[in-house]
Amino acid sequence: MNWLASIGKVTIGKLSSFGRATLMLFGAIVAKPQFIKNVPLTIKQIYAVGVQSLLIVVVSGLFIGMVMALQGYTILVGYGAEGSLGPMVALSLLRELGPVVTALLFAGRAGSALTAEIGLMKATEQLSSLEMMAVDPLRRIIAPRFWAGMISMPMLAIIFSAVGILGGHVVGVDWLGVDSGSYWSIMQSTVDWDKDVVNGIIKSIVFGFVIVWIATYKGYDSIPTSEGISKATTETVVYSSLAVLGLDFVLTALMFGIE
């Protein structure tokens, strides 16, 4: 009987935390939204979440594009198909690596910071003091961070892909000697705006939503001790990375799987 009870306890715990997360999301962005009032706060959060993630995204995009060009070249040159380096780099960046790697970096760089910040606000009772002053912390604290994450994530993913393609150009064309014209022109004849670029952007918006949701909820729901905050921060990174990778498979299957 004990093991049955423990299964039930875990299930109820998971379900109720999922319910609390949904309620938090609802209270923050659906119920009585204050878009105009939130704009300055959101801009400040875009700075914290987006602009400060720019360096890591640009640097890793550059190096991932360069590594892909290098690896792809050594294989493609064996078939005399090094002209296809451009579409290989562009398609893998736009469809998969751009959204996914950006999301993983975003979860590590911005998601953990969000959780720690909100968790510390809770531990130092700033959230309760806001409530005392009749300011809804959901709308004042959570909502701007939420919108900032959802706006920043697709922009970061686009920048990642663009920088990666330029990095592939640096290695493929300037170093390994692939023809610059064929790098761009075969890429242009292969890559499609709706199918590749827009689907990548949709992916990154979904990932942004999931990451910020998990990050803000984990912070908001954390146990207000130093231990609890450290646990919540770890869980944010782990859960959002797993969610991104799992969702990526589902989204890829839906977008590219069936033609």
Partner: protein
């Protein structure tokens, strides 16, 4: 962190994202013909289309003039019908033109090669919805090998 500086940096971030998007739109994505310029449709019946796909290029002497729009099977005689959208820029092809399915490179993708016919008096130009009569099917490697083996055996 004063908010003025944050606003400026966020503005820079947004501009950077737009620049990246613009670069993707202009340099990476194909400027397909169907979206931009006017097109007209031509059809052709083949015996075998090999590996031809929707969106494969239609080329005249290596210049891309259009794309394959759809590939269907004619219900009457069970032959594939390929409909191509050709840019309105090139609407002067005579009716004696012929099409064949070619392969770019040894293992490359397949495309429709379009050979404009001679302009003779009394021959009209191809226009919207016309069927091109003179077609040559794709080269299927297995058939070639089969023929080769057969001729060796004789």
């Amino acid at each position: 962190m004063n908010s003025r500086k944050a606003e400026i940096l966020v503005g820079g971030f947004v501009v950077l994202a737009f620049a990246a998007g613009l670069m993707l739109a202009l340099k990476v994505v194909n400027q397909n013909m169907s979206g931009q310029s006017e097109t007209y449709t031509l059809n052709a019946k083949f015996d075998n289309i090999g590996g031809l796909k929707v969106r494969s290029a239609v080329k005249v002497g290596g210049v891309t003039v259009g794309r394959v729009d759809s590939i269907t099977l004619s219900p009457k005689d069970f032959t594939p019908v390929v409909s191509m959208s050709i840019s309105k820029e090139y609407d002067q092809f005579p009716e004696t033109s012929s099409v064949s399915i070619l392969t770019s490179g040894l293992l490359g993708e397949q495309y429709v090669g379009f050979q404009p016919g001679f302009e003779i008096e009394g021959i009209e130009n191809l226009s919207e919805g016309d069927y091109i009569e003179d077609t040559k099917s794709a080269l299927v490697l297995e058939d070639l090998i089969g023929q080769f083996l057969f001729s060796k055996g004789q």
